[in-house]
């Protein structure tokens, strides 16, 4: 990770000064938005394929069971290998990814036994693994960072504070040993604990211990006041690196295997016949999903990860039929959600309306006394914003949206009404019953419509120049005649289709 960060910073320093970069990274808003957007990109790209394969809920299961992998890896690290229990260690990420793949395998094993269905297999596998994880945590782990709460919600707002430092100039590492002028020596009782006695006891023996000896990196040395000149430092948040790697990895995977993924998603049988190994794609996808779910674990928490996996692709799915466009739109939607989500958490709805005034309104209407100061979870707000974008797509999508569908339906209902009225007039004009059948003021009764509806249809037909009213009866114009003929012909053809094909 460190060389990558260094490379990144060096390339960024071509455009920015060091101070600007540090100021940018130190802002919680910039860091959180950037991390959210990066997670949104990797989640949405993978999620699009999950959605198309009907595997969306698998990401839910994987993000839950990641906890088991983390706990087991943590216990192995501290218990068996005697390592420091560090929650951002790559071993934990490895363990969590393995647990994710394990969930998929367990589900498939249950499902393949043929004794239960796929949804039940998934619904059994992940509560079990999560339950085991919770039992292990509450029995064996006392670390504050490793509780279920952290897994659920995450700390994206604090990501800016958890940094790696990189030094670019005037770098000076300091080693403080006992004879160093800055060394602080303290007296410590050597045998108090062994004998169980108080340091004031006469039997106590003392040694001189150095309280601050050790190796200091330039950043640590500067903050400990061991250096006279400030080194040129850049503090880079760790989460940005992790999520950036995830995003690049998924992007590369999607670009390189675009054809294979597309084929395996839409026609697995053909993919297999052509030798594309769809099963391999499936597991590669699942491994990546686990990796991203775990990488996002620190930032947005495991449950909210699935929002980034599922909702943006679903919104994009409502907007387009093309896979390539869907893959472009869903990260965009996710990233937009991340940007506006931060504002929402800080009390701004899409930069339009302060949440405080909404709460004030609620207070006035219901006579409550809620606090108007809205300061809420950043990751949850990002999810809510993405959900709002989904609702917008659902309502306004040009092809599948609620409005478009309603308009289309109304339109075809109108066209149908026009056609049947024209056909009715066509059938009855020039017949003896014409006078009774085509009287404008009773016409609605023949269709069992309301008079208003008939009036509306007749008005429209007259405006279109298809009929005219002559002495209280409807008569087809020349254009109306042609229209009715065409309609009749298409109906007949449609009916005769099978026989004419013989």
């Amino acid at each position: 990770m460190m060389p990558l960060e260094r490379f990144l910073i060096e390339s960024l320093l071509n455009f920015l000064t060091r101070e600007e970069l540090n100021a940018f990274l130190r802002s919680p808003q910039n860091t959180a938005t950037l991390i959210g957007a990066l997670i949104a990109v990797s989640g949405a790209l993978l999620g699009a394929f999950l959605l198309l394969r009907g595997l969306s809920m698998t990401s839910d299961a994987i993000s839950h069971t990641a906890l088991l992998g983390i706990v087991v890896a943590f216990l192995l690290m501290t218990g068996v290998f005697g390592l420091e229990g560090d929650t951002s260690s790559p071993w934990l990420i490895l363990g969590a990814s393995l647990a994710g793949v394990g969930t998929v395998l367990l589900t498939e094993m249950l499902y393949r036994s043929g004794l239960l269905r796929q949804d039940a297999a998934l619904g059994l596998a992940f509560p079990l693994l999560f339950a085991i994880a919770v039992i292990l945590v509450s029995r064996f782990v006392d670390d504050v960072h490793l509780d279920e709460d952290a897994v659920l919600v995450g700390e994206i707002g604090l990501a800016w504070a958890n940094t790696n430092s990189h030094c670019f100039d005037r770098c000076q590492s300091v080693t403080v040993s006992e004879d160093h002028p800055a060394a602080r020596m303290t007296r410590q009782c050597r045998n108090c604990r062994a004998l169980g006695i108080n340091p004031r006891d006469s039997r106590a023996e003392f040694v001189e211990v150095c309280g601050n000896c050790g190796d200091y990196s330039p950043a640590q040395a500067w903050s400990a006041g061991l250096l006279e000149r400030e080194p040129a430092l850049v503090f880079f948040p760790k989460s940005i690196t992790v999520t950036l790697v995830m995003a690049l990895l998924t992007l590369a995977f999607t670009l390189i295997f675009y054809k294979e993924l597309k084929l395996a998603t839409f026609d697995a049988a053909l993919a297999k016949a052509l030798g594309f190994r769809p099963a391999l794609m499936h597991y590669a996808l699942m491994i990546l999903v686990s990796l991203v779910a775990v990488g996002a674990f620190d930032a947005v928490g495991s449950i909210l990860v699935i929002a980034f996996f599922i909702i943006p692709p679903a919104a994009a799915y409502l907007l387009t039929d093309r896979l390539a466009l869907m893959l472009l739109l869903s990260p965009l939607i996710g990233a937009l959600g991340a940007v506006f989500g931060y504002d929402l958490a800080r009390g701004q709805l899409f930069g339009l309306l302060p949440v405080a005034s909404v709460i004030a309104l609620i207070n006035r209407v219901f006579g409550l006394e809620l606090i108007e100061d809205w300061d809420s979870s950043i990751s949850a707000s990002m999810v809510l914003t993405i959900f709002a974008l989904f609702l917008v797509a659902w309502v306004f999508s040009p092809r599948y949206g609620l409005i478009a569908t309603a308009l289309r339906r109304a339109n075809s209902r109108r066209r149908f009404a026009d056609q049947v009225v024209l056909a009715h007039i066509h059938n009855h004009q020039h017949t003896p019953q014409a006078a009774t059948e085509l009287r404008v003021d009773t016409l609605h009764a023949h269709f069992r419509w309301t008079p208003r509806r008939m009036t509306r249809v007749l008005t429209r037909l007259r405006a279109l120049g298809l009929i005219r009213i002559e002495s209280g009866g409807a008569v087809l114009t020349e254009r109306g005649e042609g229209q009715a003929h065409r309609f009749r012909r298409t109906m007949l053809e449609a009916r005769n289709m099978p026989s004419s094909a013989e």
Binding site: L51, G54, L55, S56, M57, S59, D60, L110, S113, L115, L116, R117, D119, A120, L122, G123, L124, P127, L128, F130, A131, I132, V134, I135, S138, R139, E148, D149, L152, V153, I303, L304, I306, A307, F309, I310, I311, A314, Y317, L318, A345, L368, L370, I371, D373, D375, S376, S377, S379, A380, S381, V383, L384, I386, F387, F390, W394, Y400, L402, T405
Partner: protein, 446 residues
């Protein structure tokens, strides 16, 4: 039907298991006290009682979720309850029944949202569940974070709804759960026929004038209420396991809905009670997850052991089928070779039988040898008297089947499903068999 005097062996077994599990669940506290030598406190008893009853309830209702392929719906609905809890708290303060009503309303709204999404878009069920789960839950988290920023400290314990906090359950909670739960069970019994119909054949139900939409909504609402009641115990994440594990386990033992639901209810009650008892052994064992692990152990046991369906049984059946098949084939090869080379008991060279039978020959010879139908003589394998008899009967049976196939219509024989491994003599009535034998004796055999 099972009602009436005569119970089939399968039914008797299922009822026996139900009775045994119910007895164990009822006597759980005294039994475990005797086994572990512990004295359980009042709190543990309350939690165990609540756990058992919730298990019973969710087991019974969960069957329908499992059968309707909506197992994951429980997951979405339980997550979706959270904002309801938070809003109810903001509006009305900390009063359990109101919090639960809020949870139920939020969860129910999410159900309607899923239905609307499925009806108006091409988004499939799993994605719809995921969308609702994530966004409702996010709303809940956002509201909880807002509540926590309020200086008034009375919000403590709201996050019990996320992970479940069985130890915090008190007697009045259990009373509430039992009251509401009894109403649910009564409704289930009253609307049994309707629920059964919409679960298995919604179109038929609709054609018979049932209002499918209404009944579906009602059934889902009962499931929502069950989930909401269980949240305190199991929490939103584990509730889905609590809901479906007993149903999946019960499904393995029976094909009858009534047996399945009752069995799932006792399985659920056992997991709830036993989980609570185990977690009482040590303060570091959380109750909800332990219940899930117990329930899953029941699932595993059922998947393995369930007669006829379980993995162990199908493995055993496969093995005995393979053996019978190998033995029959080997016998036929031996008999045919021996007849072609003189008498029925003339020796057959080892190399021949292994050549034609390959790996099956080894197995078949071992089977036949074990039963004393064949033995290895000086010059090869020789059929014993019983072996010759068996082979002759088998040949005769095959010829009868062949004759039946050709002449069943002509001889006006009753219809049989052709299964040549069974004795046709045992399937046909005596007169029909006599006709068939006569036809075969005429030399009609091809």
């Amino acid at each position: 039907m099972t009602s009436g005097g005569a119970l089939s062996a399968d039914d008797r077994r299922v009822w026996l298991i139900i009775a045994a599990m119910a007895l164990v669940s009822l006597l759980l506290i005294p039994l475990s006290q005797a086994l572990f030598g512990l004295r359980f406190t009042y709190t543990v008893r309350v939690v165990a009682l609540g756990g058992s009853f919730l298990g019973l309830l969710s087991g019974a209702l969960g069957c329908f979720a499992v059968l309707r392929r909506e197992s994951l719906l429980g997951d979405a609905l339980s997550h979706a309850a959270l904002p309801g809890v938070a809003i109810a708290f903001l509006l009305a303060g900390r009063e359990l029944s109101l919090l639960l009503i809020g949870a139920g309303i939020a969860s129910w709204l999410s159900l309607r949202f899923i239905a609307a999404l499925l009806a108006t878009t091409r988004i499939k069920q799993d994605a719809a569940l995921g969308i609702v789960l994530a966004s409702w839950f996010a709303a809940g988290i956002a509201l909880l974070a807002y509540i926590q920023s309020i200086p008034d400290a009375s919000q403590a314990g709201l996050d019990h709804f996320i992970f479940g906090q069985a130890a915090a359950i008190i007697e009045s909670d259990v009373r509430l759960v039992m009251g509401v739960g009894s109403i649910i069970l009564c409704l289930l019994a009253l609307l049994w026929k309707e629920f059964k119909l919409v679960t298995f054949d919604a179109e038929f139900a609709g054609a018979n004038g049932l209002r499918i939409g209404l009944i579906n909504t009602l059934l889902s609402t009962l499931i929502v209420v069950t989930i909401v009641l269980g949240l305190q115990l199991a929490g939103v994440i584990l509730m889905v396991g609590m809901l479906i594990a007993p149903g999946v386990a019960a499904r393995q033992w029976t094909h009858e809905l009534n047996q399945m639901v009752i069995l799932a209810a006792v399985f659920g009650a056992f997991s709830g009670g036993f989980g609570a008892v185990i977690s009482a052994l040590d303060s570091d064992i959380p109750t909800g997850p332990t219940i899930i692990v117990v329930a899953f152990a029941l699932v595993l046991m059922s998947l393995t052991l369930a007669p006829g369906r379980g993995l162990l049984w199908s493995r055993l059946r496969q093995r005995s089928n393979r053996r019978a098949f190998a033995a029959r084939n080997t016998l036929r090869h031996l008999y045919r070779y021996a007849l072609a080379h003189g008498a029925a008991n003339s020796p057959v060279p080892d190399s021949f039988i292994r050549g034609v039978g390959d790996r099956g020959a080894e197995l078949g010879l071992r089977e036949l040898g074990g039963a004393g139908h064949v033995r290895l003589g000086e010059s090869g394998w020789q059929l014993s008297e019983s072996g010759v008899e068996l082979a002759r009967r088998d040949l005769h049976n095959q010829q009868l089947w062949e004759t039946y196939r050709l002449y069943a219509h002509e001889l006006d024989l009753p219809d049989l499903a052709e299964d040549r491994e069974r004795e046709i003599a045992s399937l046909l009535p005596a007169d029909a068999l006599a006709k068939l034998e006569a036809k075969l004796a005429e030399g009609a055999h091809p």
